[in-house]
Structure formats: structure tokens, C-alpha cells
């Protein structure tokens, strides 16, 4: 007994016995689990204040973001509902929405692009009454189709961002060129521009805006299309082959070869850096030039996409606020959407965008912004030529997935690398059937 006592170490303030350790660890784990269970669950209703979380893209027009923040503050003053406005890169919006819907928490209102309401229909509220109240029957058809899934509106279309070819008027004058009306004209113009070391700048990389905005209209204007009106994949057609052949010729003769790696900002930098003479873009190049390089801005002009044998087209898709299905503030969210649509607010939004965005009902076509700067008037006509991904079929989830996989863009990227147009179209047919099938 005595021996045992001798072997027992004297307790010190810092020593911990095995038993103590296990006891304390168990208590700590219990506390952590309890805290996790509490945090993982919903806070009790009485503890919640009226707060809204609004998620949208970060606009290329900084004043537009400032205006949205101002409107959110005004909304808070008017209703007492605190609005957190979060703005992120458009390329990161889709994953954020996916994660929010799957986890059942996140922003209450999200600004969707193009046909995202189709992609996320199961996670969005029914916007039927809001549609009737805010958009009425005057909404452009394509905008209606972008948000209506199986007859149910899953968002309310607010505005569109148009695109046009921005070009150097001074260089065109110097070279004796006129603004191109057809793809054949654009080829002639592009050859001359490339000869003057100011080629056409066009991306065919994996980027959400400029690449599909170029590739889809080029396909349509030669009569090619992903699917027919019944939704059958018909991309492997003589019209598609012609579009691909033309693109190869156009790329070699007129374009900056670096475009294969460009993202949506690269052509802006190249144009403002005066290394290209024309590019398809929103009006953002013009705005930046107007603000930072006014001399250059005076030399810029815009023209619509060229016409081909199948017509003239622009990719078009609305930006539509959507109230998330999991939101616990649906009434406040609907009020916030109403506030964005309120005539004075939306008019002010169009004004600060200076023509970068267009309204989606005919009444906004006569907004003063379109006569304030002649260089921008062309953007008001986008809606007339607008088609959406999946044309001529209905706008649905599959067309969104095909766009997300850049199948049409990659068709043209392969063509400019010299692959056989027929083999490329057959490849696209197979990939699209995989998506639509």
C-alpha cells in the first residue's frame, strides 16, 4: 500500500487525470453538439427581425450598382425592412444559386439571368400574381418564355442587356469602310481592319457573355439551330456546316487569334488598349471610354449583328428578380420586387445605365435615354432581333445546360482550329442529344 502511494504522482494544479480528461472532453463535445444543433436549426420566429437579402451580379456599370443600393436604402426607409444587397461576379451566380437552393438558405431575392428560372424552377416561388401586376400582357414574348416554366412564372423579367458591334468610326473612315450590314460585309471590313493591325476581337472561350452572344446568332443567321420548334436536335445540318465554314474564313482573315482564350473583359481591354478595331459587346466599352478616354469615345459607333441568309439575330435574355422558395420573407421580398419595378425607380435605373439596359415592355422604348446619346440608340432595337438559347425550340432547362456546356461555342472554336465542319456538327449533334435526350 505504501509502495502504491509512493508511485502515485503528486497532483499539481495543471495535471489532468485520465478520468478528468474524458469527463471534460465529453462535456465539451456535448456542448459543441448542442450548439451545432441550435445553430443548424432555424432561429425561433420571434427572434427574427424583418430582413431581406438581395443577391445580384456586379454590373459592368458601377453607377447601376450604386443606384440599386440607393433603392434598397429607400425601400428600408419606406418599409422598415432592412435589405442586404450582395453583388458578385456573374460567372459565380449560378453556383451560388445552386448551393442556396440545395441548402435551403441564402438570399431571399436573386437576380436571375436568361433562362435560369428554368434551371432552378423547383427552388423558386410562384410569381404568377406578381407577373400580372408588374409586367402585364405587354411583356416581350421571349422575356415571358424565359421565366415561365410549365405555365408558372418563376421570376419577373425586369430588364435586358443588349449587345452590338462597337467599332472605330475614325479607322473605318480612314480605310473607306462602311458599317457592315451582312456577314459578307463584315468579312470585307474585318480583312481591311486586320491589314491595319486593328483586327476584329472576338472571344470563343468558355465565358458566359460575349462567346455565346457571337456564336449563337452566327449559327442562326445561316439558318442553323440547336433544336427545331418541336425540340428535336437538328444542329447537324448543311446550314450549320456553312456557318462553321464561314466562321473559319472570318477568323483567319479578320480576327485576333488570341480570342480563343478571352473572357468577357478581354475584348474591353483590347479595344480600349487600341489593339482591335471592332468587337461584339454590351455598351460598357463605350461607357468606360466616355469616362476615361473621351477622345476615343468620340470615335466609336455601334451597329447591329450582321444579317445572314437566315436573318439577323442577337442573343437576348432578361434579368429577372426571383423570390426563392425557401425564403421566410416572401411578402417583404415581393414588396422589394415591386419597388424595383416602380416607374420612377426603374426609369432612374435605365437613366444611370445610360442605355446599357433596356426595359422589357414597349413603353420603355421611348425612354429619353435613347435620344440622349446617338451612339447608343442602336441598343434599343435589340429586342426586335432577340432570340434565346435553344431557338427555335422552347426555352427550357436543357437549352440552359447546353449553353452552360458551351457546346455551340465550342463548335465554332473547333471550326477556327481547322477541324472539318461536318465532323464538328456531328459531334455537336451527339452532345446536344445527350443533353436534350
Amino acid at each position: 500500500m505504501k509502495k502504491t502511494e509512493q508511485h502515485t504522482p503528486a497532483p499539481s494544479p495543471s495535471s489532468v487525470t485520465r478520468r478528468d480528461f474524458v469527463k471534460k472532453s465529453t462535456t465539451a463535445i456535448g456542448a459543441v453538439v448542442a450548439a451545432g444543433a441550435f445553430l443548424g436549426g432555424k432561429a425561433p420566429a420571434y427572434a427574427q427581425s424583418r430582413k431581406l437579402h438581395y443577391l445580384q451580379w456586379s454590373s459592368f456599370i458601377p453607377d447601376a450598382d450604386t443606384e440599386i443600393r440607393r433603392q434598397a436604402e429607400e425601400f428600408t426607409k419606406a418599409t422598415g425592412v432592412e435589405v442586404t444587397v450582395e453583388m458578385i461576379n456573374q460567372n459565380d451566380m449560378t453556383p451560388r444559386i445552386t448551393a442556396a437552393i440545395e441548402s435551403g438558405q441564402g438570399a431571399d431575392v436573386v437576380l436571375m439571368i436568361n433562362n435560369q428560372p428554368h434551371l432552378f424552377a423547383n427552388g423558386l416561388s410562384d410569381h404568377g400574381s406578381l407577373m400580372g401586376e408588374l409586367a402585364g400582357g405587354d411583356l416581350y414574348d421571349w422575356a415571358n418564355g424565359a421565366v415561365t416554366v410549365d405555365g408558372v412564372a418563376r421570376a419577373v423579367p425586369l430588364f435586358n442587356i443588349g449587345n452590338a458591334i462597337v467599332y472605330r468610326k475614325d479607322v473605318f473612315d480612314e480605310l473607306g469602310l462602311a458599317a457592315p450590314n451582312t456577314w459578307a460585309d463584315y468579312l470585307t471590313v474585318g480583312k481591311a481592319l486586320k491589314g491595319a493591325n486593328l483586327p476584329v476581337g472576338q472571344t470563343l472561350g468558355h465565358t458566359f457573355g460575349d462567346a455565346p452572344s457571337f456564336a449563337y446568332p452566327l449559327l442562326w443567321s445561316f439558318g442553323g439551330m440547336e433544336v427545331d420548334e418541336a425540340g428535336k436536335v437538328v444542329v447537324d445540318s448543311p446550314e450549320t456546316h456553312q456557318a462553321l465554314e464561314f466562321c473559319k474564313e472570318f477568323w483567319d482573315a479578320a480576327c485576333d487569334p488570341g480570342g480563343l482564350a478571352w473572357d468577357d473583359t478581354s475584348n474591353n481591354r483590347a479595344f480600349l488598349g487600341q489593339t482591335i478595331g471592332a468587337t461584339l459587346n454590351g455598351a460598357s466599352i463605350y461607357f468606360v471610354a466616355r469616362r476615361k478616354f473621351p477622345d476615343l469615345a468620340d470615335k466609336l459607333a455601334h451597329v447591329n449583328n450582321p444579317e445572314g441568309p437566315g436573318g439577323r439575330y442577337h442573343v437576348i435574355g432578361p434579368r429577372s428578380p426571383a423570390i426563392m422558395g425557401y425564403s421566410e420573407q416572401k411578402d417583404a421580398a415581393a414588396d422589394f420586387v415591386r419597388f424595383l419595378f416602380q416607374e420612377d425607380n426603374f426609369s432612374q435605373f435605365i437613366s444611370v445605365n445610360s442605355g446599357y439596359v433596356q426595359g422589357l415592355t414597349s413603353k420603355w422604348e421611348s425612354h429619353p435615354v435613347w435620344s440622349s446619346d446617338p451612339a447608343l440608340g442602336i441598343f434599343s432595337t435589340n429586342a426586335k432581333y432577340g432570340r434565346s438559347y435553344g431557338h427555335a425550340g422552347p426555352w427550357n432547362r436543357a437549352s440552359g445546360e447546353a449553353a452552360e456546356k458551351y457546346i455551340v461555342v465550342d463548335m465554332f472554336a473547333r471550326a477556327v482550329q481547322g477541324e472539318d465542319p461536318k465532323a464538328i456538327a456531328a459531334w455537336a449533334q451527339k452532345e446536344l442529344e445527350n443533353v436534350y435526350g
Binding site: A99, G258, L260, A413, E431
Partner: protein
């Protein structure tokens, strides 16, 4: 009998205390927190991923069991096959370069020279800097129009160099420079280059640590036997650092195989899917298109390939341990 009656029954606390005195019970108790973490953060997502890959789950829906339907679709898609091949190619080439250059760097750093410690610390920088940040810097350096590499090459291409009237190099005219991320072959090369740049320090420092454990006597003995530098490396250095090298290489294969950030920032899989990896394709399908079932199937496709590598590593380590 009387004695038994007078002994009070042990309380619950005492029972627990007694049980904990048993090493086997205590072992499980101590292991429980780690086990819980593994179950919650690794096993549960993994099982969920396997389940999702067997369903037609679209974002916001629970999904219906479709067996191997997603895998059928994937194998019918050239995009998937391209991404699978790209992943194997990317991992193999990048790992070989990292291992060879890492060994070379480690041997250099193992020498005694001025500022050795500062140099060793500096070598680690690419590994320390957050990947997203350093990759954005590479994106700028690879920019199709404003690449610093191309501007430098262009200047060198066009500059006249002459000494005392003797022309060493004349102006060779306009030079555009490589399309680092635009040309399909170059795009994969560029992505591998950045991966090697980032992963090299890990190899070098790990190999360096292994090199420093080799007793100098062995080299002295080799010197006496008349071994040359290459023979010393082959017969002394390499066998002794092999266990570390295997672990480092296997670890690197696993991490490189699942690489996502580099490609996502540099090319997003373009041009024409030439740099798409399984990780970026899984993200594109699952998070971008909302086709979570197919995204999970792509991600899980990596599992059997990586499992082979990991089983090899475990087998090797166990064999070395027995030795």
C-alpha cells in the same frame, strides 16, 4: 451472504469509471470524436454523393433512382471522355515534372551556400501564396493581348543588338508571341506549368527533409569506394529517400488529380474543352447546369482511379513498415 448484502451496488458513475479503466473501452471513447468528424464530414457526403450519382437529381428536387443511367450518359459524351483523358494526362505530366525538378531543387538546396536559409524559405513562397491569388497573377501573365512574356519576347524580337558596329542581332520584325491559353496545346502546357510552379516547393522541401536524414558516413564510405556523384545519388541517396518520395508522389497525384482552382481561373475548361478536368466538369454539370446527378457521377468517377493509387501507397508503406 452477509458480506454481499453489506456491499452497496456500484453507482452509474462508478460503473463508467471502472469501464474506462479498461484500455479497450477507453480507446474507443477517445477515438469517438475523430470518428464522428469523419462520419459527418467525410462518410456522409461520400455516401450522399454515391446516392446522388445514381439518381436523376436536378437542383431543388430529391431525384429518382436511375441506376447507372448517369454513367451511361457520361460514357456517351465526348466532353466527359476528353475531360477524363485530360485529367490523367495533366496529373501524369505535372507529377513527373514536380518529382524530377523537386529532387533537383532539393539536392541544390541541400548544399551549403550563403543565404541558404533565406533561399529555402523563398522557395516555399509559391506553395504558401493562396492558389487563387497566384493563379490570377498567372492569368494576367498569360493574357492574350497584354502578356508580360509576350511583350518581353516581342521587344527582344524587334531590338537590334550591336557591339562596336558589329550586329549581333537584327530586328526580326513583328512577333505576336504564343497564345498561352488560346492555342489548345499551349493551354494545357500553361495549366501544367502553373501546377508545377505551385507544387514544386512541396516536393523540394519534402525531399530536402529526407536528404538531411541521410548520415554523411554513407557518402564518406562511397567516396572511399570511388563512387562518382551520380553513383552516390543512385545507390545511396535515392534508396534512402524512396519511402518519403513515394508518400510525397502519391499525395501529389491525389491532389493534382482533383485540381480545380487552376483550370477554373485560367480557362474554365476552354478552349474547346482542351483543359477541362473531371473536377471542373463535375462543377460545371452539378453547380452550373443544376444537373447534380451527373455532376456527382463525374466526381465519383475519380474515386476508383485514386483508390488504386492509395491502395498502392498503403501496401507499400505496410511493406516498408514490416521491413
Amino acid at each position: 451472504m452477509q458480506t454481499q448484502q453489506s456491499t452497496p451496488a456500484p453507482s452509474l458513475r462508478e460503473k463508467i469509471a471502472t469501464a474506462l479503466e479498461d484500455q479497450r473501452v477507453l480507446g474507443y471513447v477517445l477515438m469517438t470524436p475523430a470518428l464522428l468528424l469523419i462520419l459527418i464530414f467525410i462518410a456522409y457526403p461520400f455516401v450522399l454523393g454515391v446516392w446522388m450519382s445514381l439518381t436523376d437529381k436536378i437542383v431543388g428536387t430529391p431525384g429518382v433512382f436511375i441506376g447507372l443511367g448517369n454513367y451511361d450518359k457520361l460514357f456517351a459524351s465526348d466532353i466527359f471522355l476528353t475531360a477524363a483523358w485530360n485529367t490523367v494526362f495533366f496529373t501524369t505530366v505535372a507529377t513527373v515534372f514536380k518529382a524530377v525538378l523537386g529532387m533537383w531543387l532539393a539536392v541544390l538546396l541541400n548544399r551549403k551556400f550563403r543565404f541558404a536559409n533565406i533561399t529555402r524559405a523563398t522557395v516555399l513562397l509559391p506553395f504558401i501564396v493562396p492558389t487563387v491569388l497566384s493563379t490570377l497573377a498567372w492569368l494576367w501573365m498569360f493574357d492574350a493581348t497584354f502578356s508580360v512574356f509576350n511583350w518581353t519576347l516581342r521587344w527582344l524580337w524587334q531590338v537590334d543588338i550591336s557591339v562596336f558596329g558589329l550586329v549581333l542581332k537584327e530586328n526580326w520584325g513583328f512577333f505576336r508571341g504564343p497564345l498561352w491559353l488560346g492555342d489548345p496545346g499551349m493551354a494545357m502546357t500553361s495549366v501544367i506549368l502553373v501546377n508545377v510552379w505551385r507544387g514544386l516547393p512541396f516536393f523540394a522541401i519534402s525531399f530536402l527533409a529526407a536528404l538531411q536524414t541521410i548520415p554523411p558516413d554513407l557518402y564518406d564510405a562511397a567516396d572511399i569506394d570511388g563512387a562518382t556523384g551520380w553513383k552516390k545519388f543512385w545507390h545511396v541517396t535515392l534508396p534512402l529517400i524512396k519511402p518519403v518520395a513515394i508518400v510525397v508522389i502519391v499525395f501529389s497525384i491525389v491532389v493534382t488529380f482533383a485540381d480545380f482552382q487552376l483550370v477554373y481561373i485560367l480557362t474554365r475548361g476552354g478552349p474547346n474543352n482542351e483543359t477541362h478536368l473531371l473536377a471542373t466538369l463535375a462543377y460545371q454539370l452539378g453547380m452550373g447546369s443544376g444537373n447534380i446527378g451527373q455532376g456527382a457521377a463525374v466526381a465519383l468517377f475519380m474515386l476508383p482511379l485514386l483508390a488504386v493509387v492509395i491502395v498502392f501507397q498503403l501496401w507499400y508503406l505496410r511493406r516498408e513498415g514490416v521491413r
